[in-house]
Symmetry: D2
Subunit: 385 residues, 4 copies
């Protein structure tokens, strides 16, 4: 027994609001009956603005990883070339998946402290005069590093290159937390999931799909069944599913979308921006370094903190979990052990952030890492402003 | 507003017990932390007896359809032959999936009133002297027809033919409701899902896997990423997942497994047998016909009722939904319009069955179908015995 | 572990709808803050039509028994005479309470098979020429007998006698189930509670109060503090409470009131009337006797079944609980052992009633009581009509 | 829509743990059936150690105010004298209740910054040579001031005076948060409620009863019915209630008692002591004054902060509610406007306290009250130690 509420400050799954948990606890209904159709049509309509799209959004019973796979198998054919970028752990995993499915990945190396460089996109596409690159794969917000790639500039680079490649974007840890615009930014497939900015438990994967992607899907020859868009788009028209839908998570999604509408997306994004700024103020106040190295690319969803080589980030996290019942994100892949990650996305407010940063401050001290204890005060200055 | 509780008597999703709904409504936790590992290890251990296996069970964030795909892509290669049987709508869909994934399906036609004929299995395998058939695909309980195939006899037929084909069995609407034994019956992959006998909302797919299937997986060349067993088996060892797990449904699964253990699987199966017998007594008491044509193959999970050609089964269902707030299963595929299906599986008891059959009786009368109103009395005789 | 849902067919507490249970599970809030005031004002407004009043309704954190006490201590003084009627167990308990509090009770004996006789009211009041009787206490629906007294005729009798006595009415098991009109029928204090027609767990007591009762309260000298209306009426004006309010049950009450509004009170009453008629059809179909002996006084909330002297009603209930997981009401007081009570009030529908009556039929048979098994069929005829 | 979780930092109702909310949301059961008896017996057994008693505890469907009344009406007779102390708002209200019920209250005035002075108890009792004082009424923890009276010293004073008066103690805001021992300290009636240290919604009132109080009850002549201990003690023996019990809150109480057992009462008390010390460190760090003026009497459940006359505590609270979605306690009675109260009791941990104190610090600054922003840092030093 640990008193009080656990602080779940990993960058997802995020804290699920009570309202959503109660919504999920409603009795399951007949997925072929009229009440289900009403639910599904409502959800499919309300979800569009969150993606910034007027086009179709397919919602799978899956994790976000499944939605990655769906984006690839619906638009590409065996042997197709894709351009991807080593912005961090998840970008690397997505690369691995693409290769595993039989695609040829042109993988641009990176230092895990920067986002996708639009100039490199431009350069690679310009060099691809035969248009062998079928798709550009970008992770909008790298959950492993707290770096947000500048999708509009990437889009502009593709356009300037006059290259026909599809633009596939992973918004797994940005959707509903960081400003994102599928249509306006000319994204072809936006991949996302339920357990981050949408404030739901894991179990839903999303694909927002452009007209161009739909056309590409007609010729795509990677084998697919579960992920196949076509039967979804047809069944969704009438509010149904090609197979048994994840009814209870859809109850929760409806509630989540109502919450986001009620706060208003601009307010949601501004809140995340403020919390990220306060978090960086604390990190710098402590005298520590933020992993993200480009001021234009700070994530508003999470902050990765870089420790000196003599310190063990996992020990810090262990102390904080034991003493303060708070879960933080581990460093992943290349930066494990030297990095820990503070999630500040989803259903979250100023005082919970203050508690979170207080816990990090005390944990750093308890781990014997020399910090300036005015970090928390710096964060409160930002929050108070 | 409709007063009282909806009667969800489709053959799945089934009525989710309150305890499970409350379990699902627990806050989501860190899927990389120690509490999650404890949950996952507990669930992975407790689920084995329900499949009758001591081997691994992989649990996907997916519908049952995903678990079908997983069974195929992990064990087979492009161009492999599989033997399948037209026992009903879902067997036909599974055939379609296999073909879509690039397999060659030898599909034995059927009349939708019988299960897989073990003699035909024997005959087909005997004829396959070159062992081109890589797998036999069987639907244990056809949800569209209420017919249960005799898996032990099918196994015996394969053995007698000394054929190396894998045996893949769909237990989507039988697991946890009808006696089933993965190990004892020599099944190689058992496919299942959460929303039927396991009494959960939809969102989990299952594969129970034999040693032989694991060996087959090493050489299987269908492309796969999300469904790939290998990273699951490795991560599950320590209670983790290769990608974000469906935490809240796993909370519910734990509760469901505790409930099944507490009632005891033999008692659970006997309960379903009794309810099925009472339902058939009602159907025959009304003077109507059960779709299943073989006494050895009656499903204990659902009963499909066959109406004469002059009657519209969908109109009966519509009246029952409108007047009595009860959902029944529609006829599917070949038998739509002349068949409706009564689900009597999952979290269910005598009085709810009595209410269900009362509603069917009144609905048949209101639809103008001539029946003998002693049907309900016949059912009560069985329940009282 | 018992599979399926318990049948709670006692005449209260009744089956609480899931929506109400979820509403109650919302986090408790500051009872002095603006959100609480909004909740309380909303509930206090919505509850009035259920009582049929435009006057104040006080909602106590208490059982219904507390609301009985409140009705007495707010309007009466030590030594006051009250007129009460032995219509059953609860009327007798209320009498005992009045005596315990120092009132003098003129208690008209009864046979527990009839309601209050308006002619006796007239006669007693006519005889009370000195107007020593300060109040007439009536139980609208006797939960122990299934007999509903005719309040409008009682009112008329008081009026004809031109007697100033207050009319205090217990609607504990009728409110929200059986037509009731505090203002129109000239009732001075209506007593009620949460766990019957209001479909809530126990824990709220109600007093609806007439102008005349408010005036009487000014001179009432029974000591009181917790039950004192005055601080309630003052604090409720602004949506507050004189002491800590039962916040979570008020969440549930709001939901219950929305449900009743949504179905519409006339439809709610008609539903209860139909279910009571179907239940009586079953009882008579079995060849058994309904306890209520006057056709004008049958309760629409519950039916008490009278067995012959050679049968043990508690044994019938025990068998039904053990075999069919259904709770029925015991016979109370004078009629214990020969009577059992079937609750058919609150959140309830046709198929649940059919299941209930099926369980009673089977239980009677298992107890060896000779009945005609066409009872259930007779009930279904009523429900189908 | 306000993002994130509300901070309910009033000194009760406290934050109800999710586990308890889910427990309360279980379906209501038959209060005369065997499952209820099991629940009640379990709760009545588990609750004793929380009071530090081996004697009976009566649990009412009521607020704590009702339990106050129960303590008086069960032990006293009209015209009895009681000794009470003006330690704050609630002690004054209890005085008012006693007078309203017909008791004569000897009320010792106080400055709302100190607890009951044991020397005054000794002096008053010594002067009462005719033993007219029937009871001494003490509020253990004054919720309005954050001052805890020293019950063992009061007991010793009564004993030294060899006075037979009963000792009645209100533990409404201390039970389950601050060390308390009904038996060891010789308390005769301990009054409490559900919504503070027991972490439940409001709706339960408690009386723990000594042998001496039971004897006194036999001769007590204040009228009573609802609050009468006798029928409770008899019915509780078998796990039942004299009237309809508050079943769903009893579900929650069982869960609360399991939580307290699991953490262990000494750990629970130590946690509250630490949080109170950290809170006082913050208050003093800000340069503000704690209302409690005696170091021996600081409450571990709440801290009342005293502002200078030029500041408006209600404005501070308003700003904090608007900007940071945190509810704090208002100043009550004599100290309204100059005092606000920080609740740190119940289900609460270090990081939530850090968030709470951060919010208070920012709110004080936003209200223009000159404070030293190192207050939060001082609190973190205590929490980290």
């Amino acid at each position: 027994m640990t008193a009080g509420r656990h602080f779940l400050q990993i960058p997802g799954p995020t804290n699920v609001p009570d309202r959503i948990l109660r919504a999920i606890a409603q009795p399951t209904i007949d997925h072929r009956g009229p009440d289900f159709a009403e639910l599904a049509l409502d959800v499919l309509r309300r979800v569009k603005p969150v993606f910034g799209t007027s086009g179709p959004v397919v919602i799978y019973p899956s994790s976000g990883t499944g939605a990655w796979e769906a984006a690839l198998v619906n638009t590409l054919s065996p042997g197709d070339h894709v351009l991807a970028f080593e912005t961090g752990h998840f970008a690397t995993l997505w690369r691995d998946m693409a290769e595993g499915l039989g695609l040829v990945v042109d993988f641009v190396p990176g230092d895990w402290r920067h986002g996708v460089d639009p100039a490199v996109v431009a350069e690679r596409l310009a060099a691809d005069t035969h248009h062998r690159i079928a798709a550009v794969m970008v992770v909008h917000n790298e959950t492993s590093t707290g770096v947000t790639s500048r999708v509009p500039e990437i889009r502009a680079a593709i356009d300037r290159a006059e290259h026909p490649a599809l633009l596939l974007v992973d918004t797994i840890s940005s959707l509903g937390s960081i400003d994102y615009r599928h249509d306006e930014w000319g994204v072809d497939v936006t991949v996302s999931c339920s357990q981050k900015g949408l404030m739901l438990p894991p179990g839903l994967g999303f694909n927002a799909i452009s007209e161009k992607a739909l056309t590409a899907a007609e010729g795509a020859r990677l084998p697919k069944s579960y992920w196949n868009w076509a039967p979804f788009l047809e069944a969704n028209e009438r509010g149904y599913y090609p197979y048994t839908p994840p009814t209870n998570l859809l109850y929760g999604l409806r509630e989540a979308l109502v919450l986001l509408e009620s706060e208003g997306l601009p307010a949601v994004f501004a809140r995340h921006d403020r919390h990220a700024a306060a978090t960086r103020a604390a990190v710098r106040g402590w005298g520590l370094e933020v992993l993200c190295a480009d001021e234009r690319e700070h994530s508003s969803a999470l902050t990765a903190v870089l420790l000196g080589e003599e310190h063990d980030a996992n020990e810090v996290r262990r102390i904080i979990l034991d003493r303060f019942d708070m879960s933080l994100g581990a460093g992943l892949g290349k930066v494990s052990e030297r990095v820990f990650r503070i999630g500040h996305l989803g259903d979250f407010n100023d005082l919970t952030l203050a508690g979170t940063l207080s816990g990090v401050q005390m944990g750093l001290q308890l781990a014997g890492i020399p910090i300036d204890p005015d970090g928390i005060r710096a964060a409160l200055e930002v929050l108070r402003a």
